[in-house]
Symmetry: C2
Subunit: 301 residues, 2 copies
């Protein structure tokens, strides 16, 4: 998480004060850790002008695999198993729903067959080259029934080809109009949630598709919603009924990564309580009484 890498900030507040919080220590419990208030506040409480970041050396070796699963319920067990067996080096755990994989591999010869329900891109960073260990771990999770197919990259080119499946979603974006969402919810509920979104979409938009991938190790999903048909729906219709409404039952977040901005303001109350929003508003009006800092973003005051 980026927040955990921010040691210090300099922020200019609404009254022009240069608030220097350029801490360089890992531990500093001298009073409130004020920088936390500004991280993720989207410029509404102050303007960040400098930052002190904690850096870690990049590990030189990496192993990458694309694996297939025959059920989402295997995923949390697989994540725990890989965390245990690959340790802190596990750096990517990217799930793709089967229909996403099908949509992005059209016209190519894909590395794995296209009819599995779930695919997962696994990557591990290491300080030494231990490809053998990585392959052994993949064999063990296969033998344990957690995965049903796998391909391990044997070169940088093969690694890039596996990542292209996750990264290159141009074929999905070509299906206009397409609506992008960025939600988070507990991993165990993800498959049920996506099924509910798809069911609700089908009800209102018979030609709709919902293609999903996610950084499941971090608990979040990206949804590409393609209503299809001839008439474009309102964003509100899609967002409210199909995507965000079912999220409420799982106490999910309408924004895992990208923030609220202006677009998601109407749904902030789906993920934050009235008391939370009231405190956000109190902080905002206290720290920016004239509402000059990024007005209209996150919450209206």
């Amino acid at each position: 998480m980026m927040r955990n890498l921010v040691l210090g900030l300099e922020v200019v507040t609404a009254d022009g004060t240069v608030l220097s919080m350029m801490n360089r220590m890992l531990k500093n419990n001298a009073g409130f850790d004020l920088k936390q208030l500004f991280i993720g506040s989207e410029g509404t409480l102050g303007v960040v002008t400098r930052a002190v970041l904690k850096l870690e050396p990049r590990l030189p070796f990496r192993q990458t695999a694309l694996v297939a699963l025959n059920g989402f319920e295997k995923l949390p067990r697989l994540l725990n198993r890989l965390k245990q067996d690959l340790g802190a080096g596990l750096s990517s755990f990217e799930v793709m729903w089967g229909d996403y994989y099908q949509a992005v591999t059209t016209g190519n010869k894909p590395p794995l067959a296209r009819d599995y329900p779930f695919y997962l891109l696994v990557e591990c960073e290491n300080r030494d080259e231990n490809a053998a260990r990585f392959i052994t771990v993949m064999e063990q999770v296969f033998d344990a029934g957690l995965i049903v197919d796998a391909v391990v990259a044997k070169s940088g080119a093969e690694r890039a080809a596996l990542w292209a499946i996750r990264d290159n979603f141009d074929p999905v974006l070509a299906k206009k109009p397409v609506y992008l969402y960025d939600v988070s919810l507990p991993i165990k509920d993800m498959a049920t949630y996506v099924d509910q979104v798809k069911a609700r979409l089908k009800q209102d938009f018979p030609a709709a598709q919902c293609l999903v991938f996610g950084h499941v190790g971090d608990g979040n999903l990206h949804l590409f919603v393609i209503p299809g048909g001839t008439e474009a729906p309102t964003t509100r219709h899609l967002s409210d009924l199909a995507v965000y409404h079912p999220l409420r039952a799982f106490s999910g977040s309408v924004s895992a990564e990208h923030g609220i901005g202006r677009e998601k303001k109407d749904w902030l109350h789906y993920s934050r309580s009235a008391a939370e929003i009231a405190l956000m508003r109190l902080l905002e009006t206290t720290m920016d009484p004239k509402n000059i800092l990024n007005p209209g973003v996150v919450i209206d005051v």
Copy 2:
């Protein structure tokens, strides 16, 4: 850091509102991350009544060594080297100044000779038993001249004996009166800072001792100041002149771990700017206008 393990909180605020922020997701950027405001605020902004914590499984194997260094300047290089060679499993990197080691090993047969200037307790957690690798790394840092002596625990009892040196500072506490401090500053400045504290102490208290150990991997030090002599100095004299004053030149913190409470309020401005303290006061008076939450703690309003 504990902060990084807190996913959600429930807090009761000054007006009796139950503020539920019981988030269970790793990523949630739906508006301000309000729980950050309460973490480390010492009960002055609200009363924490529930928490959601992220847990990690404890790794089953650990290797422990006590090593000696002939100069503090080796320490940052040793830390980087061990991070690289032992990876994320490096779980303890605890430095002890030579006089601390001497004070706690009186009357015992210590595992290493008592005349080195610096000692370091290194511990590594692993998912598999690879004691051979740990020993190899210790041999390599010895060959590289980063350490001058080492002992590796070969059993749980030996491991406990090594930890007892760091943990059992009863012989130090017996030298009454003793004053404890908890500061942080950049690692590269630590030896210079401790020398300055000792020099200043000697000037005013000829019989003074300053015994130091620290969680150097986290950037903080614990100082035991024993003024000696027949007349006890004022805490203010010790704190202000000897311990906190020299910290200012290194932009250090008067409280790395334990917070400000009532005792350190007078020195908060050594580690936080006037603008920071003004914002702390603004938050405090806004969120607790009647000053009923832990009044007199952290800052006076």
